[in-house]
Amino acid sequence: MNKVSIFNVAAGGKARFFSLVLLLVVGLVPVDDARAEYGDVVLNRYAESEGMRPVIFPHWFHRIRFRCKVCHHELGFEMRAGSNDVTMARIIEGEFCGMCHNGEISWAVDNCDLCHSGKPGLKSGIHGGSQTKGPGRW
């Protein structure tokens, strides 16, 4: 058996090697939303299909007021964009954003437009000018 490795040039690995290098180089270039603030998250799994603007969550705004551990430990937000099934029903029941956005700790969910403030067509995930947006997922 001819073992194929990215470093094995004779076995066609040269093309693989260069495509890997190309992937890394392209990955280091900020391709979209370079203007958005670092760490901004777009939530648009349901919003737009339900007739609302996509949600923009600004990490910078929240970390001035709360340490990461409040949302990512106490409130149970998984630290991976896309892995939290955030719905308005669950928020109104007090989960996720609803732990604070309940009119007690912060303003309540009837201020729809303050979160649902994104441009139409935005893709869910971390945006925010990450300078290292590689081939991975955030």
Binding site: L24, G27, D32, D33, A34, R35, A36, E37, Y38, G39, D40, V42, R53, I56, P58, H59, W60, F61, R63, I64, R65, F66, R67, C68, K69, V70, H72, H73, E74, L75, M79, R80, A81, M99, C100, I105, D113, L114, H116, S117, G118, K119, P120, L122, I126, H127, S130, Q131, T132, K133, G134, P135, G136, R137, W138
Partner: protein, 190 residues
Amino acid sequence: MFISRVFVLIWVFSVHGLAHSDIDKRQWQPLNNDGLHDPASPAMGVLQEPAEALRPLPGDYAGNQVLWVKALREGYIEPRSNIFPDTTVEFLDMDIIMENTSIMPMVLFPHAEHTEWLDCKNCHDIIFKEKVGANQINMFQILQGEYCGRCHGAVAFPLTECFRCHSVPRDTFTGQYGVQPKTSTDANPQ
């Protein structure tokens, strides 16, 4: 006498002014032109602008252009540690040196800076096994958003800042790898 005092005052103010303008050239995009917010949204003009919130904080050139740990430790910000009164707020002051970094300087991982923001359970054992040497960390995986790359490159300082982690020169280091003897006493256990 009076004239010399005036000159001193002019000098003091000019130096101060120059220093100030030299340091803070940071710019943040207004929300209505950040590529994400809809300029037609009623939230424009209501939501706080990044420049307003972040300019008073200690400056950086990467990420949010804020040194978040410094901002926290020096009291520029006082973010809450918990919402529920019975939550145990955990803190750990333990530095770890990772020696398998090839030609790069070794990595010093400070638990203190991390646990001021995060809970132990955010990383252990979901992202990192709670045992020195048990995690096969490499930069390819970090660049793909695994291990340190969960936060660094997304919300914490980006992966362009190699030497903030790779900070221990191998040739002058004489201590032990792994867990370091405690030296710092100024950590802030909040």
